[in-house]
């Protein structure tokens, strides 16, 4: 309410903002006039005057599905903080953090995350949750891919029949995954049937629906959008017995405070801790849209999950390999994802 009132004041006294640097736009309520920037005070000390701020750059899928609307208020309450969520594509979110303009990122592109860590921009990555991708297309399925067990084969078939395929084309996590599948299919998607549209997942689904095209979607956004479109799942993801290549893991990474001393590192760590805590994981686990669970938390496990601390293809000294980690993932799915999902 305080924030909203402040908006009114700003709108009314708009002449006073002519000095841009005079107002840095902190989201503190007006009573925080003690000159503190707010980021120095301890969290949860009860003095409502100076809330800490956390800038979270994240993928649109976590935001648009409404998951963060469940998680963030609980975190804010617990840590007396305000979360400023910037919904972007995964590529853009990582770029924002790379420039030091976010405190923490929540994204889904393991390869790009590893690179981000290798370059020293992020520290302490944790697995948070996953869902999976699905290949969707028109009900009449002109390319005939329904029920295929390999996503790569399905893509190759689409390319062969030159059925229209809509690509996000925006360097998002979904886009990165799609390119990975093309890579695996051995086809270079070129031609008038392949359309890069540079839009978010929802727009892409709507556009694919309008043009009777195939596309790759994360399951969460597809479920959230399903009621507005006529597309159907033609190749399932690993949550429903589909190929493991369509797994969609989300990771949280605080920005390295040694690179950018101004980031709110302790709050970023608190956020990572919250998402991977039993409480945060429970919220993720119980979040549903239209009765469907969208994300499966996987931060907590009694068995070792070393894979989240090392690069995706790290061979662990010869014992582990990508196929081993895939096998572990499949086993995890078998144990934890209900049959009737």
């Amino acid at each position: 309410m305080a924030i909203q009132r402040r908006r009114f004041l700003q709108a009314a006294g708009v002449g006073a903002i002519l000095g841009l640097s005079g107002c840095t736009g902190d989201a503190e309520p007006p009573q925080a006039a003690d000159g503190e920037s707010g980021s120095q005070s301890e969290s949860g000390n009860g003095s409502s005057g100076s809330k800490q701020e956390l800038t979270l750059a994240t993928t649109t899928s976590t935001y648009d599905t409404g998951l963060l609307d469940e998680l963030n208020p609980v975190f804010e309450e617990k840590f007396d903080a305000t979360v400023k969520t910037i919904p972007q594509g995964t590529g853009a979110a990582i770029e924002t953090a790379r420039n030091g303009d976010a405190d923490v990122i929540l994204v889904h592109a393991r390869g790009a995350e590893d690179e981000f860590l290798k370059e020293g921009y992020g520290v302490n990555r944790r697995d948070v949750m996953f869902n999976d991708f699905v290949v969707v297309g028109p009900a009449d399925d002109p390319a005939g891919i329904e029920g295929m067990e390999s996503a790569a084969d399905a893509f190759a078939t689409i390319a062969e029949s030159e059925a229209t395929f809509v690509s996000r084309g925006d360097d998002s996590g979904t886009n990165k995954k799609e390119l990975l599948v093309w890579d695996a299919s051995g086809v270079d998607p070129v031609g008038k049937w392949y359309r890069e549209i540079g839009k978010g997942m929802g727009d892409t689904l709507v556009q694919a629906d309008q043009s009777g095209a195939y596309t790759l979607s994360d399951r969460g956004t597809f479920l959230a959008t399903k009621s507005k479109i006529d597309l159907e799942i033609l190749v399932q993801g690993p949550l429903k017995g589909g190929p493991t290549i369509l797994k969609n893991p989300y990771g949280v990474i605080p920005v390295n405070p040694a690179k950018y001393p101004d980031v709110n590192y302790s709050l970023a760590m608190a956020y990572a801790g919250f998402l991977t805590s039993p409480e945060g994981q429970d919220i993720i686990d119980s979040y549903t849209v239209d009765g469907s669970q969208l994300f499966f938390p996987n931060a907590l496990s009694e068995s070792p999950q070393f894979g989240q601390y090392v690069p995706e293809d790290y061979d662990g000294g010869g014992n582990a390999s990508a196929s081993v980690s895939d096998a572990q993932f499949e086993q995890w799915v078998a144990e934890n994802v209900p049959e009737d999902f």
Binding site: R7, L18, A27, N72, N99, K228, I229
Partner: protein
């Protein structure tokens, strides 16, 4: 309301206020900078005047996303103005909208000012006016055109989406109040979610705002010259 069922009132009001706040501030800053610029360009003869004029009119068509990217580069913590921590704030949006609105304002104001007959400037000077008086007289004579310039700048600012999305970050707090989300960037969110109808309803609010501002301007313009300012 039409298609706005799933958006609560607090959210609607606050994104509308952010839109108004950012655009109004950007137009005020543009006017503060732009009107003296338009006067200077039309009164003074200097080398490169033609170049300046064509830069200004080129600026009218400057793509807003490019402006957004430039402002992003400048305001990023790793950029030259990073220490002010302005990125992802309303002030960053004001900055980028000012860059966009300024050329529109200056161009339209300039043509209004230049259409004031030389005879009137001469009369003001010969009546004992200083150069400031002459400038004020010209502004007064060009007031309809200047109001049009302000309205055009306002329209450019409030309907703009590319740059505010990039430099504002499209942030809404968890209590549903907007920090840097405007009507236009809220529309992109709805479009992304596939909620086309909600997006169009938000567009309706935006349109109503622009109409209201224009009606205000028209009201000012329609006051008779002698009645308006005696």
């Amino acid at each position: 309301m039409f298609g706005l069922g799933d958006l609560n009132l607090t959210y609607l009001v606050s994104i509308t206020l952010v839109s108004l706040y950012v655009s109004t501030a950007a137009v005020l800053v543009s006017a503060t900078l732009g009107l003296p610029m338009a006067l200077a360009v039309s009164f003074r003869d200097f080398r490169g005047k033609a170049v300046v004029t064509s830069i200004i009119s080129t600026g009218m068509g400057f793509p807003s996303v490019v402006v957004g990217l430039l402002v992003l580069l400048a305001l990023s913590r790793s950029g030259p103005l990073g220490e002010f921590e302005l990125l992802f704030t309303p002030e960053a949006m004001i900055l980028s909208q000012t860059v966009l609105a300024l050329p529109v304002l200056v161009s339209v104001a300039l043509s209004a000012i230049q259409s004031v007959p030389q005879d009137l400037r001469d009369a003001a000077f010969a009546s004992g006016g200083t150069s400031t008086d002459v400038a004020l007289l010209v502004v007064r004579e060009a007031r309809y055109g200047i109001v049009t310039a302000l309205l055009a700048a306002y329209g450019r600012a409030i309907s703009e989406v590319g740059s505010v999305l990039i430099v504002g970050g499209n942030i809404v707090f968890s209590d549903g109040t907007s920090f840097t989300r405007t009507l236009t960037t809220a529309i992109t969110v709805e479009a992304r979610k596939g909620n086309i109808e909600t997006g169009i309803a938000l567009g309706g609010i935006l349109l109503a705002l622009v109409l209201a501002v224009n009606a205000l301007g028209a009201r000012f313009r329609d006051r008779t010259p002698s009645g308006g300012r005696r």
